[in-house]
C-alpha cells in the first residue's frame, strides 16, 4: 500500500498525462493520417479517467497534491489537482462518455479537444484554468454538434456569469490583484447578500451553459448518438459547476438565501423535466427530459443540504448531500443509457415514436432490460436506484421546519408537496415509456420484426444498466465512493466524525430488500400453476369491440392504447387546475362558494 500522499501525486501525474495525451491526440488528429485509428480508441481515455476517479474515491486521498503548470496568464500559473469531488465526477462522467464514444467513434478531432477541455475543467484548482477549460470544452462541443447562434451566445453569457461569480469569490492580494486559487477562495468564505449573489450567478452560468443544448424539445430533434454525447458531457458539467461553486467555493449554506435559490431552481427543473417526460411522444425527447428532471433532483438535494447545513443540522446535511451525489451518478448515466436505447430502437424498429413501437420486450430483451434500468433512475420505486436517493432525501425533510419560522414552515410544506408531485410524475412518465415502448402487442410491422442489436451495443448498454442496477441494489458502494466528495462539501462534518463513510444500514438494507423481493417473486413463479392452453383467448366482445378483421393483423387502431390517450385525463386535469388556482388567487370568496356548491351537489 502506497503512502496516501505519494498515491495522490501519482494519480495527479497520471491525470495530467491524460490531459496532455488528449491535447497531443487532438493535434495529431489535425495533422491527418492516424485520425481513424485514434478516433476508434478514444473511448479508452474516458474509461481510464473513470478508473482513475474510482481509485481516488476509493482511496479517499484526493486534493493533497497540487500540480502547478508553467502555463496561463502572467503571474497566474495554471494549477491542477484531484480532490474528492473531481474524482467522483471523473468516475461518473467517464463511464457514460466511454459508452457513447465506444458506440460511435468520433470522426472529428474536436472530440479529443472536447475531452481534454472537460477533464482540465474537472481538475482545475484555480478560476482562470476553470474558465479557460470550460471555454475550450464548449467551443469543441459547439463545433461537434453544430450549435446555433443562440446557444453560443447563451454559453458566452454563462461563462461571463461564472467569471463574475469567481470575481466576487476571489480575495485580493495586497497589491489589489485577485487571488484566483480555489484554496484562497475557500479560506475567505463570503456571507450575506454577497454569498447569495455568487450562488445565483453560478446557477445562472451553469444553466445558460447546459440548458440551451439540453432542452428536450431541441435535443429530441437531434440524432440519438449526438444527443447522448451532449447529455454525457453537459449534465455532469452543469452539476459539477453547481456543486463546486455552491457546495465548495461558496461554502454550503454559509450565506442565507442561497439555499432557497438552489431549491427553487432544482424544483423547477425536476417538475418541468418530469412533466415533459410524461407528455412527449418520442423516445429521444423523453430521455432528454429524464436528464433534465434528474439534474433538477440533484440540484434540489444540494439545496436541501445547504438548508440543513445553514441551520447546523449536520446529520440532515450529510444525508441530503449523499442523496445529491447519488443523484449525480444517476443523472450522469441514466439519460445517456436511455438515449442509447433510443438509438438502438431507431436502428432496429425504425422509429423513436412511442405510438409506433410496442411489444419489443420479447424481441429485444437486452435492450428492454437496459431501458428498465434507465427508467428506474427517475421512477423512485424500490428496489431501483432512484428510490435509494429519494429515501435518503425524504428522511431529512422533517428537519426543515426548524428553519425560518412561519414562512420557513410554509416553504418546507410546499417543498414536500412539490417533491411528492415530482416523484409521482416521474413514476407515471417512466411506466408510460416502458409500457408503451416495450409491452403490449406490436403496433407496426416494423416493430413486430425488430431483432436484438449487435454485440458491442449490447455490451455497452448492459454495462451502463449494470452500474445503475448496482446503484439501486448496493447504494452503499456508491456512497462509499462518494465519501471523499462529501468531505469536500461538508468539511466540518468530516473533521468531527472522522470520515463520512456510509453506515451499516445503507450497506445492508437495500440488498436485503431486493434479495427478498426477488426470492418471493421467484417462489411465486414456482407456484403459479399449470397452463391450460397457449392460445390468446379472443372473446367475441372485448371491451365493447369485436375481434379485429383479417386485414388489420396488428389490431384495430381504435382499440389499441395510444400515448396521447394514456395521459388524456392528466392533461384534462392540468388546465382546470391552473384556472382554479388563478380564480382562487383573484376572487377567493367566489372560489370558496363554488367549491362548496360543487361539494354539496356531488
Amino acid at each position: 500500500m502506497l503512502v496516501p500522499g505519494v498515491m495522490a501525486t501519482l494519480v495527479l501525474l497520471l491525470a495530467a498525462g491524460l490531459v496532455a495525451g488528449l491535447v497531443g491526440g487532438a493535434a495529431a488528429l489535425l495533422l491527418a493520417a492516424p485520425q481513424r485509428w485514434l478516433g476508434r480508441f478514444l473511448w479508452l481515455a474516458p474509461l481510464g479517467a473513470a478508473v482513475l476517479g474510482g481509485l481516488v474515491c476509493g482511496a479517499g486521498t484526493g486534493g493533497r497534491a497540487l500540480l502547478a503548470l508553467p502555463l496561463g496568464l502572467p503571474g497566474y500559473g495554471a494549477v491542477l489537482t484531484i480532490d474528492g469531488l473531481a474524482g467522483f465526477f471523473l468516475m461518473a462522467s467517464g463511464v457514460a462518455l466511454a459508452a457513447v464514444l465506444r458506440l460511435v467513434p468520433p470522426a472529428r478531432p474536436a472530440a479529443a479537444a472536447l475531452l481534454a477541455g472537460f477533464y482540465a475543467s474537472l481538475l482545475a484548482a484555480d478560476g482562470f484554468t476553470l474558465i479557460a477549460a470550460l471555454a475550450a470544452t464548449l467551443v469543441a462541443l459547439w463545433r461537434l454538434v453544430a450549435a446555433g447562434r443562440g446557444t453560443v451566445l447563451a454559453g458566452i453569457v454563462g461563462l461571463g456569469a461564472l467569471l463574475l461569480a469567481l470575481a466576487r469569490l476571489a480575495p485580493l492580494f495586497p497589491d489589489g490583484a485577485p487571488d484566483v486559487a480555489f484554496s484562497a477562495m475557500r479560506a475567505a468564505p463570503q456571507a450575506g447578500a454577497r454569498g447569495a449573489a455568487i450562488v445565483a450567478l453560478a446557477l445562472l452560468g451553469a444553466g445558460l451553459i447546459a440548458l440551451p443544448l439540453l432542452w428536450p424539445a431541441r435535443l429530441g430533434r437531434r440524432v440519438a448518438h449526438e444527443a447522448a454525447l451532449i447529455v454525457a458531457l453537459l449534465v455532469p458539467s452543469g452539476l459539477y459547476l453547481v456543486l463546486r461553486f455552491t457546495g465548495d467555493l461558496a461554502a454550503l449554506g454559509a450565506a442565507p438565501g442561497q439555499d432557497v435559490i438552489i431549491v427553487l431552481g432544482g424544483a423547477a427543473l425536476m417538475l418541468g423535466g418530469a412533466r415533459e417526460a410524461l407528455l412527449t411522444i418520442t423516445l429521444g425527447r423523453i430521455a432528454a427530459a429524464v436528464g433534465v428532471a434528474l439534474l433538477g433532483e440533484a440540484i434540489l438535494a444540494c439545496g436541501v443540504a445547504a438548508l440543513a447545513r445553514g441551520a447546523d443540522l449536520t446529520d440532515a446535511a450529510h444525508a441530503a448531500a449523499s442523496a445529491a451525489l447519488l443523484l449525480v451518478f444517476l443523472a450522469s448515466l441514466a439519460p445517456v443509457l436511455l438515449l442509447l436505447v433510443a438509438a438502438v430502437l431507431r436502428a432496429e424498429a425504425g422509429t423513436e415514436a412511442l405510438a409506433r413501437l410496442g411489444g419489443l420486450a420479447p424481441r429485444l430483451p437486452f435492450t428492454a432490460a437496459s431501458a428498465l434500468a434507465g427508467a428506474s433512475a427517475l421512477a423512485a420505486l424500490p428496489p431501483g436506484p432512484g428510490f435509494a436517493a429519494m429515501a435518503l432525501l425524504l428522511g431529512t425533510l422533517w428537519h426543515l421546519p426548524r428553519i425560518g419560522g412561519g414562512a420557513g414552515a410554509f416553504g418546507a410544506a410546499l417543498l414536500v408537496a412539490l417533491l411528492g408531485a415530482g416523484l409521482a410524475l416521474g413514476v407515471f412518465a417512466m411506466l408510460r415509456f416502458l409500457g408503451l415502448g416495450f409491452l403490449g402487442p406490436p403496433r407496426t410491422p416494423r416493430a413486430s420484426a425488430a431483432t436484438e442489436s449487435d454485440r458491442p451495443a449490447c455490451w455497452v448498454l448492459g454495462g451502463l444498466a449494470g452500474l445503475l442496477a448496482l446503484a439501486g441494489v448496493a447504494p452503499g458502494l456508491i456512497l462509499w465512493l462518494a465519501s471523499p466528495a462529501l468531505a469536500v462539501l461538508l468539511p466540518a462534518a468530516a473533521a468531527v466524525s472522522g470520515g463520512l463513510r456510509p453506515g451499516w444500514l445503507a450497506w445492508l438494507a437495500p440488498p436485503l430488500l431486493a434479495g427478498l423481493l426477488v426470492a418471493l417473486v421467484a417462489l411465486m413463479q414456482r407456484f403459479r400453476g399449470a397452463q391450460a392452453d397457449a392460445a390468446r383467448p379472443e372473446s367475441a366482445w372485448q371491451e365493447g369491440y369485436g375481434p379485429p378483421p383479417r386485414w388489420l393483423p396488428f389490431g384495430d387502431p381504435a382499440t389499441l392504447i395510444d400515448p396521447a390517450c394514456f395521459t388524456a385525463s392528466w392533461r384534462c386535469a392540468e388546465r382546470p387546475l391552473g384556472a382554479a388556482l388563478a380564480r382562487l388567487a383573484r376572487r377567493p370568496r367566489a372560489a370558496w362558494r363554488a367549491g362548496c356548491a360543487a361539494w354539496w351537489e356531488g
Partner: protein
C-alpha cells in the same frame, strides 16, 4: 428468538386479508368469509391460461404486486413494534413498497395494450400525481411530531402524547382522499392463481394500510418486546384496524366512480384533502416550533 414474532404477525396479517377478501361488502359476517374461502380455493385449483403473444411481464405483475405488499406487511407493526425489521420500517420505504404493489397490475394492463386498460391506468396514475403530495404532507406532519421517519418511533412518540390538531387534520385529509380515490386497478385477463395473487395483494394492501393508519394515529395498545402485552396488542389491533377498515368502506359508497363517471381528476374532495393536509403539515411544524 426475536425474529419468531414475525411468524404470528405475518400470519395474522395474511389471515385478515384472506378473511376480508373482496366480498365483504356483499354479504355480512361468516357468509362473506365462507364465500371468500370458496373463491380462494376455486382460484387456486383453476388451471391458468397463458395467452401466447404476451410476455413474462404478464405473469410477473401479480407476483411482484404480492411480493412487495408481503414485504410491506412484514415491516408494518400489527400488535407489537418489536419486529425484526423495525430498523428498516420507515415511511418512505413503506410508501415505496405499497406504491410498487399498487402499480404492478398496471404492467399487466399495459401488456394487454387495450384502450380501456390504458385509460384506466392513466386515470389512476394522474390521480396519483395529485394525491401523492397529500400523502407526503400527512406523513411528513407525523414525522415532524415524532422527529423521525421510523414507524416504531412515531408510534411511541404519539402514544406518549402529541398535539391533537395535526393528527386530526391528517386523518381528515386521508378520509377526504379515501372518498375520492378510484377503485384499485382491474385485472381482466388473468385467471387461476395469478388472479388469486392480484386479489390477495389488493386485500393485503388494504389490511396493511389500515394497520399503518392504526399504528400512526391510534397507537394505544401497541405492545413492545414483552410477551405479556401481545394478547392485548392483538385485541387492540383487531379493534383499531377493523374500525379503520369499516370507516374506509363507509366512505367508499360516496365515491364519484359509483355515482357517475367523473370527466376530470379534480374534485372538491381532492381540494379539501389538499387544504387539510397542508393544515396538518403547518400545524405540526408550528407545534414543533412551540415545543
Amino acid at each position: 428468538m426475536a425474529g419468531m414474532v414475525e411468524i404470528p404477525h405475518l400470519a395474522l396479517m395474511i389471515a385478515a386479508a384472506l378473511a376480508l377478501g373482496v366480498g365483504v361488502r356483499d354479504k355480512p359476517g361468516f357468509a362473506a368469509m365462507r364465500e371468500n374461502f370458496l373463491m380462494w380455493r376455486g382460484l387456486w385449483r383453476q388451471r391458468a391460461r397463458w395467452p401466447a403473444p404476451l410476455t413474462g411481464a404478464f405473469w410477473l405483475a401479480p407476483a411482484l404486486s404480492l411480493a412487495s405488499v408481503l414485504l410491506a406487511a412484514a415491516l408494518t407493526p400489527s400488535f407489537t413494534t418489536a419486529l425484526p425489521g423495525a430498523a428498516l420500517a420507515s415511511l418512505p420505504l413503506l410508501a415505496g413498497l405499497l406504491g410498487l404493489s399498487a402499480l404492478a397490475p398496471g404492467l399487466a394492463l399495459l401488456e394487454g395494450g387495450t384502450t380501456a386498460g390504458g385509460l384506466a391506468l392513466g386515470w389512476r396514475l394522474g390521480f396519483g400525481v395529485l394525491a401523492t403530495p397529500i400523502l407526503f404532507l400527512v406523513l411528513w406532519s407525523l414525522a415532524q411530531l415524532a422527529g423521525g421517519v421510523l414507524i416504531g418511533g412515531i408510534s411511541a412518540e404519539i402514544a406518549a402524547g402529541a398535539p391533537l390538531a395535526p393528527r386530526l387534520l391528517g386523518l381528515l385529509a386521508l378520509a377526504a382522499l379515501a372518498r375520492c380515490a378510484p377503485e384499485p386497478l382491474p385485472c381482466p385477463d388473468h385467471a387461476g392463481r395469478a388472479r388469486a395473487a392480484f386479489l390477495a395483494a389488493a386485500a393485503l394492501r388494504r389490511v396493511v394500510l389500515c394497520s399503518l393508519i392504526a399504528d400512526l394515529f391510534f397507537p394505544a395498545g401497541l405492545a413492545g418486546t414483552e410477551v405479556a402485552g401481545w394478547g392485548i396488542g392483538i385485541l387492540a389491533w383487531v379493534i383499531k384496524a377493523g374500525a379503520v377498515a369499516l370507516a374506509g368502506s363507509a366512505l367508499a359508497p360516496a365515491r364519484p366512480a359509483t355515482r357517475r363517471p367523473s370527466p376530470t381528476l379534480l374534485s372538491p374532495e381532492l381540494g379539501a384533502a389538499w387544504a387539510l393536509a397542508l393544515g396538518a403539515a403547518l400545524s405540526a411544524a408550528f407545534a414543533r416550533g412551540a415545543a
